[in-house]
Symmetry: C2
Subunit: 318 residues, 2 copies
């Protein structure tokens, strides 16, 4: 495990994931409380809401109110996402830290199903968005390659295809004089295994040894944490995850099992491996328990149920 990073950064997506998928209704007050609690754990990046059509995602109808109510700590980025210009127009009027992103799926068929646009049309839309970000002074920090490990429509995805997507995104960033902070590789539909993480990350690394990569992993088939371990072993130091495993619901069949990897489980594993996270695990576990209280049912996170080891190590246990 010689390539292990000394420290990792975690991008928390639990609030947005949870408020979006939970049958709810979740009160604005609870949403704010959860975001504020997460920001007290040492997390530097909390994705609070998405600015989407409330008719399609009723749980996000109060996104602007949530964004305006959160009492912000100065050392934390409270972020939100938008899927189109209309969403960005709403987002930038809130006090959230809104950044633009660029994205591409390895799978043309997935793109069409997901956004009604093929990859070429997506590129046109991306340029429209990049013009908007430039005009509004919205920084663009990251790019994401979706379905990087496999696709339910197109099946296996060759690592070279992922590399080509990264190349196109980097070209696009160059075109707009954007210096990306990182490129996120996403297991959008839960196909990744430790072997494919090694192959894909290895292929990208070979071409761009200094490019900072992030992993966006789902635990659809039980390999989420093992995939994260392989990422760590490949030196990946940036992960997206969800407190309590929010976003998946264990009671809803396929959809339910498809949540992001769980933040506090990832923090536990990293800390046990001597990797710094800057996060107070016990405080984060309390957030996960708060999440269960708010949504009213059990969530997939494990360490919140098993408990941290700190009390045993402190010796007050016998």
């Amino acid at each position: 495990m010689t390539d292990l990073p000394k420290r990792i950064e975690i991008h928390e997506e639990g609030p947005r994931e949870g408020f979006q998928i939970e049958a709810g209704p979740i009160s604005t007050e609870d949403k704010v409380r959860f975001c504020e609690a997460l920001a007290e754990t040492g997390l530097h990046d909390v994705q609070c809401v998405s600015f989407v059509d409330a008719r399609r995602v009723p749980g996000m109808a109060d996104a602007v109110e949530v964004a305006q109510t959160i009492r912000q700590r100065p050392d934390v980025h409270y972020t939100g996402i938008a899927l189109n210009l209309r969403g960005y127009e709403r987002a930038v009027q809130t006090p959230l830290h809104i950044t633009g992103g660029i994205q591409m799926s390895t799978s043309n068929t997935f793109s069409i199903h997901n956004t009604n646009k093929n990859n070429e049309e997506t590129l046109v839309e991306q340029r429209r968005q990049l013009d908007f970000f430039k005009a509004r002074g919205i920084p663009v920090e990251s790019a994401i390659v979706m379905t990087a490990f496999g696709c339910n429509f197109e099946g296996e995805i060759a690592p070279d295809t992922v590399r080509d997507c990264v190349a196109r995104l980097l070209d696009l960033a160059d075109e707009y004089d954007i210096r990306l902070d990182r490129v996120r590789i996403a297991d959008t539909v839960g196909w990744a295994s430790p072997a494919s993480v090694q192959r894909v990350v290895g292929t990208i690394r070979e071409k761009w040894p200094d490019l900072k990569l992030g992993l966006h992993l789902h635990d659809t088939r039980g390999t989420g944490m093992a995939n994260a371990l392989m990422g760590l072993q490949m030196g990946i130091a940036s992960f997206d995850s969800s407190c309590a495993g929010l976003g998946g619901c264990p009671f809803a069949g396929h959809k339910g099992a498809a949540g992001n990897i769980c933040t506090e489980d990832l923090v536990f594993m990293a800390q046990e491996m001597g990797i710094e996270t800057g996060i107070d695990l016990d405080a984060l576990i309390e957030c996960a328990r708060l999440a269960e209280e708010i949504v009213g049912h059990s969530l997939p996170g494990k360490v919140m149920h098993g408990g941290s080891l700190s009390k045993y190590r402190a010796g007050g246990h016998t």
Copy 2:
């Protein structure tokens, strides 16, 4: 990942784990049906029941009947466990493949809490059992070191302590002219991380390079599959696991999260990494779904909810 085994063997513990912990009642017929279904997947070892005091474990009251009713395939070991001589007396009268085992905990305090015997007393009891196994012609196949990665009473466990336990177990086996098939290293209370798996396995390997090791992992804190990955990377080719993650109950707080790693998730990961298991994953997923049907609630396994990738790869998906 150069030390990956070409093939792994999986010791299925789901029926025994599940019938033991589930609030039930589970009918004898369902227990038999589940064991028989597991034996059709390619698993060669299915632990069906434990012969324990029915007043303490009501779910095992029909252990003898289950054992007698299962229609056995000739290529599968249908096994059962016992904790004391009284249990073994019942076990050997059934058609199950009963083997003896020897065991030791790294933690004297854990031993006392678990069995009312300290490690020295445990050794005396083990000799009593070994005399019994010898007299009855019961083969002894494996030894197990419990709490090998940490203990809720004694905290951190040094890898050297685990090595010393292995040494004592090997000495004990020698004393009785037993050639152990494998030594199982157990994360009894869910403390293991990939780092501690690497340390402990490495320490044992250093002393006994040719000793066959097995891992018995729990997913108490979300690292179960990552720990298994580290085991694979260390060349471990023998794992205990539970179909559907039976043995943990996601609705019961600490106790609930403490189940074994999930067999079909492990099989999925291994197969995706090119490691042979000899198991039909889709058939095993059907067993996991049968387990949920039998216990009447959701179980922690992931790939049974996410589904295997075979249908996507076959192309019949659009």
